[in-house]
Symmetry: C2
Subunit: 454 residues, 2 copies
């Protein structure tokens, strides 16, 4: 029996093998595209179906690419020739919400925003908040250990997952983690799965740690700065003073220029940077006042408000950055370094220097609360990222490592950054990480070529 | 050259090989003791010395037991015949405190309380708060993924560690994790090391995630209940209402009896349980009022205070439990299951049933905020834990698993619980965990027999 026929028997009526249906699986939001189409895509609806698909793939030696909504920015869920896609988009149910245990059990295909809309009815919230939350799945968030705007205060995805049900490539199921807040039985394979980018197993169910929804009136603060260094320094100073805003974003002048060109708005033309902060929870007023004062002392032209309309106005600049940058270019490479908060000034200086040397504009927005910078490289042609851009990006990565940071804060390695991974990890750790991969997937059938070159 | 002579050259003047000096390393606080003394103990002061000791141990094929303060409750750091102890107690320095990056870099031998005393001067706090914090090391907390009283609100040790420097058994060093809040470069080997009980490598430096010290007046609440079920149910109800106390402890009647006998105090004699709660931070007053109301509605006789002296009085009962239980018996086995919050009532019912069937008193205190129960088995003779006690404990473990919980919330597996580990993990995960061990330590030289039987 052919592979497709076997799959059709395992997942009846939910095997895609026509070119049009398969085309979307060859790309994600990184701009990268596979050289050709995968063999087929299956859309299982149950754990048992995923198990059976894995057994078939193992028997046939066919590589498996697990797929959520395909919103990744590192090429982590792109499938090409000879590969089989397992799309989890039909496994999108909420299996349980428990206020007593402050957890939800969900299937991986549910969208982050859809889950949170449902949880809101229980007064609960799943904190991971990637910019993609309206269009990305919980399973995808787990696969990439997604970050977002709120991480300095509310943590990353790893801190918001209690347990996972995982199908191994041979079709067996493991339950890792605990349904309880505490649990120390052996190695933390649950944390190991989070951020593993589909290379160790297929997450088919997740027990999520929830928090009570944040109540009260948030304080929103916007501030223009004449000097970016002052703005970046203020972010470190806010931390030094023990203040914890929920959101602290920073935009540089090239980002502001893109927005001005995009919206036709006349932004503060002498400003070199814009900072947007939001403070929430029972301490919002005190924290907001402290943040506003720190920004003002650092030279910011500060506006602070609790009025929703005025808050929205302060937000709009930040919201428009990516649409603006996208509109201005043929192709984009959105990068994702993180550095210690007190090295952001140095990171921006290095980016400005790289801009000059490569004669390329690199508008950079920044989750300043946690030192996560997104330098955006645009190029005219909409095709593959040009070598010159990769060279410039390579210098940005090296800068991050030199400053004690990392080459990916939240987007992951995928296809696009694997050539730099060993530079960060060092040989001994790189070797151990490859050993972990081999332990879970000895034949290299799970998302081959992602994270590690084959 | 003899092993001791080689060690003496690597760690001059800091090799212990006399029987008196070695005796403490044969036990921890679990009551368990090794059958004999280890070969030697070394007390390195630098990373390089640890590396050299590992190289010697590897060359000689000598097993290495890494040791902090020896306060463990699962036999995880006990060393016996043929083994070499690496004590990290001399590596106790704080290398860096950064308010800007809200982190500290420390050596593993520093005591948790000593670190926090120093951090307080910076307005910062490392949240892991095991009951042993005055006498246990940060390295030990990391090795066991220590919990404590504050975990439902402030998380466990894993959530408070950013990065680790680890010496592998062959003497190589890896740096795992990130200095930044975010970082997604490959597998999370930092989380994998946390809770690995000295079986994968030796942690020689830790970058700790700090939080601003909690300010404001805490609200302390004590409540006696006529029925334990009402008290345990109230804990789940508090969570259901979206209230997050910092501390929520529950003591059962056998615990109260021990305290009454120990202090001579006449406690509320009709009470079946006592609940102690503490609410802190900017929301302390509102949360405290909500918690007090929930306890009252559940039938509790509630006292609530912000007065330090009255607060101390409410606390004293909880503080006296372990000294009281210890004083009442020859030997103790302190157990450590965790169950979902809404199954605590069932867990206590099962413990009462086991008490009757085994004719043994099992006073049980409970971190009710996170469902972590400590059933204490006492026996007359101070020697090894009798088989009958292990049988009763085994039933408690099975109860935890049946209720969707875990056989260890915070004490770990060590020597004492390894025979039940596979019951919780299942065969496929148990096999993968053993594979992880083999990957990091192919010759089985790191803390052999701990977590997994050799």
């Amino acid at each position: 029996m052919s592979l497709v026929a076997r799959l059709e028997r395992a997942v009846p009526g939910r095997v895609v093998s026509d070119p049009v249906g398969l085309a979307p699986y060859t790309a994600d939001r990184s701009g990268h595209r596979a050289a050709g189409r995968p063999i087929a895509a299956v859309e299982p609806e149950t754990v048992e179906e995923v198990q059976e698909v894995c057994r078939i793939a193992s028997a046939e030696g066919v590589p498996v690419v697990t797929r959520g909504a395909g919103t990744g920015l590192a090429g982590g869920a792109i499938a090409g020739p000879g590969e089989l896609v397992v799309s989890l988009m039909r496994m999108d149910r909420i299996l349980e919400v428990s206020r007593e245990n402050r957890l939800a059990v969900v299937q991986p295909g549910i969208l982050n925003a859809a889950l949170n809309a449902e949880l809101a009815q229980y007064g609960l919230w799943w904190a991971p908040d990637p910019a993609s939350r309206d269009i990305s799945t919980v399973g995808g968030n787990i696969a990439m250990n997604a970050g977002g705007l709120l991480c300095a205060k509310y943590g990353v995805t790893r801190e918001a997952v209690l347990a996972l049900k995982v199908v191994l490539i041979d079709g067996r199921v493991i339950d890792v983690g605990h349904r309880t807040v505490k649990g120390v039985t052996g190695y933390d394979l649950c944390a190991l799965m989070i951020g593993s980018e589909g290379t160790l197993g297929i997450v088919v169910e997740a027990t999520l740690k929830l928090v009570p929804i944040v109540t009260g009136e948030p304080v929103t603060i916007g501030a223009f700065f004449d000097r970016l260094d002052d703005a970046a320094g203020a972010a470190a100073e806010i931390s030094r003073r023990g203040l914890v805003p929920a959101i602290l974003e920073l935009l540089d002048r090239p980002s502001l220029d893109c927005v001005a060109a995009y919206t036709g708005e006349r932004l503060n033309e002498t400003a070199d940077a814009y900072v947007l902060a939001q403070c929430d929870g029972p301490d919002a007023e005190r924290t907001g006042a402290g943040v506003a004062q720190a920004l003002r002392e650092a030279g910011g032209d500060v506006r602070s408000t609790t009025d929703p309309a005025e808050s929205e106005r302060l937000w709009s600049l930040r919201r428009n950055v990516f649409p603006a940058v996208e509109a201005a270019s043929g192709g984009l490479l959105v990068e994702d370094i993180a550095v210690p908060r007190d090295r952001m000034v140095d990171a921006f200086a290095a980016i400005r220097s790289i801009e000059r040397r490569y004669e390329v504009s690199i508008p950079t927005g920044c989750h300043a609360g946690d030192g996560n910078l997104h330098p955006v490289f645009s190029y005219d042609d909409g095709g593959a990222v040009p070598d010159r851009i990769w060279e410039a990006a390579g210098e940005v990565f090296q800068t991050a490592l030199d400053l004690g940071g990392t080459l990916s804060g939240e987007h992951g390695i995928g296809l696009l950054k694997r050539r730099w991974l060993a530079d960060e990890l060092g040989d001994a750790q790189f070797e151990l990480q490859r050993g972990v991969k081999e332990l879970f997937d000895p034949r290299g059938l799970l998302n081959p070529g992602k994270v590690f070159a084959v």
